[in-house]
Amino acid sequence: MTKKPPQPEGAYADFMARAYAMELEAVERYAQFADQLEGHNNREVAELFRKLSEVEALHAKRILGAMGWPSLPALPVAYAWDTVEAPETAPFDSLHYLMQPYHALQIALQCEVRALRYFEDIADGKAPRAVREAAAEMAGEEREHVKLIRDWMKKVPKPPADWDRDPDPPRTSE
């Protein structure tokens, strides 16, 4: 992302703060997913979620750098999204204890596609020009991420149909 010159407060700064908050939520959710899968000894997927969290953290850091914010800006209220959560945040119920890396990438792909649409909508909307330009730039980045994840998915094995079959399921109680 190219560094912007100092901007007046207002729509542009609000937009960037919101984009930053969006990245932070994704960082946190992927880290939580990594913790959950680690707790269930699914280390391969845990590691993948940890990596995704780190990637999102880099994006967040780049936004801070681009804005020249020395510290955290006054973020919009965490639950101020039009949607249930920020567009790039995976729902809590996405996980399964037997899930495989391919599933984790499917989740990440859905998140990136949602983020892409979010930025595209703003870029094509009626926001001030500076906001639309920044949104178009971010949409370009998200498009790149979508492609990266699709390529990544080609490199991991596709799970078999019975991937969630557990020979010792937790629901036996007899």
Partner: protein
């Protein structure tokens, strides 16, 4: 004189402890934990001024996952412990975490009387219609026809209706949340804490292990079509006729909470204790 230092508001993350939750991946309780910590941050509270009290069950593990004071009590007795704490330390914000088994079965009687007493507590019940920790037995809110290996053909028993019971028993604030919307749940918990008296927030929190079909709750949960009322009769009619998936604040009462100001203690605790001491001649 220097101006007093004002502590910076904390983030939701700072209300989480270093202990990692051990719920099943995908469990709704992760979302409720996130909602509680977000609400506490939004309220501008500090962990040392908040106590989270619980009983037994998956949901009752929550105190360990927060950086607040915690009390993981005995099964079904979270409200009793929390009531004692709030009356003794009214300056604390006291949250109570429970589940449908702990709160409505084993702790059912405490639930009624906590509503009746109207002590300023926030009671958050994570309802998944099953005993998850003990491997899937039907709970008071389980549908009568839910068939499982432990209840073939279903129990045939009518479900408990916690919101109606809460209203009839005197709860001062009644809301229903859905864990699939952690931010909406946070907003409801925040409102519940702000509302004086006994606030009850029932959170639909799917058990993805023993009730995987509950993942479909996200298609059913929707915002309640009408706003909250302070009229118990109107609230009763709404609660009796809803399908259990209306999300939002459903009742906001105006009863003054029980507290030091309304409890007419005539004797100080120390004097009362002294009156029970045995003198040497009576020992």
């Amino acid at each position: 004189m220097n101006a007093p230092l004002q502590a910076a508001p904390l983030t939701a993350k700072e209300f989480k402890s270093a202990t990692k939750p051990v719920w099943c991946p995908g469990c709704g309780d992760y979302s409720v934990l996130a909602a509680i910590t977000k609400a506490l941050a939004a309220l501008g509270l500090r962990p040392e001024n908040v106590a989270v009290v619980s009983g037994i069950g998956c949901s009752s593990r929550i105190p360990a996952y927060t950086s607040c004071y915690g009390f993981h009590g005995v099964h079904g007795r979270s409200l009793a412990a929390a009531t004692g704490l709030k009356v003794a330390r009214p300056e604390l914000t006291v949250l109570v975490a429970s589940g449908d088994g702990d709160g409505y079965s084993i702790g059912g009687n405490h639930f009624l009387h906590a509503c009746r007493r109207n002590v300023d507590l926030t009671y958050i019940v994570m309802d998944n219609h099953v005993y998850g920790m003990t491997k899937g037995q039907p709970s008071p809110t389980t549908e009568p026809d839910w068939s499982s290996k432990l209840s073939p053909g279903g129990t045939g028993l009518r479900e408990f209706h916690p919101l109606v019971i809460a209203l009839a028993s005197g709860a001062n604030f009644i809301a229903r949340a859905f864990s699939g919307d952690p931010n909406g749940t946070a907003a409801l918990i925040e409102q519940a804490v702000r509302h004086p008296g006994f606030s009850f927030v029932e959170v639909l929190s799917p058990c993805v292990t023993f009730r995987p079909e509950q993942r479909a709750w996200k298609e059913r949960a929707r915002a309640a079509p009408v706003g909250p009322t302070d009229d118990p009769a109107r609230a009763a009619r709404r609660l009796m006729t809803d399908d259990g998936f209306n999300i939002g604040v459903l009742f906001e009462g105006k009863r003054p909470p029980y507290g030091v100001a309304t409890a007419h203690a005539k004797t100080a605790p120390a004097a009362l204790a002294a009156s029970f001491e045995l003198g040497e001649d009576r020992a």
